[in-house]
Amino acid sequence: MKKSYLYTILAILLGVLLYNSVYFEKLSKRNSQKNAKFDFNTFADSLYYNGILKSTQAIEINQLLALTKVNADSAFKTYGNRLGIGESAYFMVNATGKIIEKNEGELKVITQNGTTLIIDTKYIFGNAIRDASGLVKLTDFKTNADFNKVSEALNTVIREKAIPKNLNNIINGNIISVTGAIKLKKGKTKNQILNILPIKISKSEQ
């Protein structure tokens, strides 16, 4: 009699465990939901035109460099975005300067303070813009690959749609304003080549 009680309790316990351990779905239904794929191109378009261009806060490049010299920790914490650990961070910066060289794929610009900047206009790749914007989180995506697809689509929008339009009337010697992403390493902000991946370039009236 006692054994039957024991077996009943064990069976109930096993049932409760199983009930809370697994769930069943129709595979076809699940696959159709899964196949309703996330459109990275539409997402990137919206991210660029409605997110990055409208709401990204950018700091003036010379001001940022000055702040990193005074208190790098604070500057990196306040203005930098980074995904993991490490000494590097991405920043969204803006700058105004004169084009001293217009080459295939890049503009060489010198600011009023004498800082030389290289603005990549063709080779816009990597995660710098996505990460510097601070608008997209890894946890919003199922996999790292999906997260990286955002960068891929975003870079394509900027590289193929936005920047070519911006560059239409720009020639050597023009004063331009640029907003874009830059990667800085703590403690190594001096004498670095400052490469900016632009999100927007415009001819300045100055």
Binding site: N20, V22, L27, R30
Partner: protein, 318 residues
């Protein structure tokens, strides 16, 4: 009497001296954050080492625990994230956190029992049988994951390895409960006494009517399940299953057992000793990192400490 007490507490004294030296050399060692971090890190090794203690007490060894940890970690993450799809039945079986953890524990148990079965059925030396399982499980992990980590497992799963409960990290709770269970088994049950008896003299144990094969199956099974618990903790802490997880964990667990005073020839030792051994290794690792010692030297130092522990064990027997 005093000599006996000193002998019993030698690993505790070693731990105390180690803590003293590191705290003098590094002001970061005795901070609350660091100590919680050390405890969180050693929880995995404690779980594995406790299972290993039972095996070593029987004069056995299990070299497969690191690979079993990796495989169960991958299965746990894989089931939680991808479930099981059965095309022919148009059925998808999804797993909750509880389901994936239980599955990992059952698989760990089965792998351990398989080790025990091979050792008892074919009279193979445990070293060889578990070495084979080490390779099998590592290969199976690579096959299952295709060499790619399984990541983003959700915050409720992450709680197991990174959460806090009543001000104490969850992994510390889990490892403490495991230790208490195994201490109870070894001290208060006939099964525990059989383990010591087999380790002390297997032939005598057999002649006194102990079913040696069944005890071995159970002990290797428990060790496999403990490795799986370690696997769940590692996966949850990283929120990701890494195909190369658990590499050389078997050595850390054997080191913890030996440093804790358990004799490799079986029959002598305690689970609490192993816990102290695991803490010594954890503190040593942490101290060497805090003191900026190169990882290559860290391995050398760890090896020397294990060597010293074995020599002391050998000397104390004479």
């Amino acid at each position: 009497m005093n000599k006996e007490l000193l002998k019993k507490s030698q690993s505790l004294i070693a731990l105390f001296l180690l803590c003293l030296v590191i705290s003098v050399l590094s002001d970061k060692f005795l901070t609350t954050n660091n100590l919680w971090n050390v405890l969180r890190q050693i929880s995995v090794n404690i779980c594995i080492s406790v299972g290993m203690t039972l095996i070593v007490l029987m004069a056995g060894i299990d070299l497969s625990v690191g690979s079993v940890l990796a495989f169960t970690s991958a299965v746990c993450a894989g089931l939680l994230k991808n479930g099981i799809a059965i095309q022919s039945l148009d059925l998808f079986i999804g797993f909750t956190v509880l389901g994936s953890v239980l599955s990992a524990l059952i698989i760990g148990l089965m792998m351990g029992i398989f080790n025990g079965w091979v050792i008892t059925k074919f009279s193979l030396p445990p070293f060889v049988a578990t070495l084979a399982m080490l390779t099998i499980a590592r290969g199976a992990t690579m096959l299952y994951t295709q060499g790619i980590p399984i990541s983003n497992l959700g915050s409720s799963f992450e709680f197991i390895g990174s959460g806090w409960l009543l001000g104490i990290p969850v992994p510390v709770w889990i490892s403490t409960i495991m230790v208490l269970i195994v201490v109870f088994i070894t001290k208060k049950t006939a099964f525990g006494r059989y383990i010591y008896a087999i380790g002390g003299n297997e032939k005598a144990a057999f002649l006194s009517g102990i079913n040696i094969n069944n005890i071995k199956l159970a002990v290797y099974g428990i060790a496999g399940m403990m490795a799986a618990i370690g696997g769940v903790l590692v996966t949850s802490r990283l929120n990701s299953a890494q195909p190369n997880a658990g590499t050389s964990y078997e050595l850390d667990s054997i080191a913890a057992v030996v440093i804790g005073g358990t004799s490799l020839s079986g029959g002598v030792g305690t689970v609490t000793g192993t816990v102290i051994g695991a803490v010594i290794i954890g503190v040593l690792n942490n101290g060497l990192v805090l003191l900026n010692v190169s990882p290559f030297w860290q391995q050398v130092v760890k090896g020397l400490v294990i060597l010293l522990a074995v020599i002391i064990d050998k000397k104390s027997k004479k």
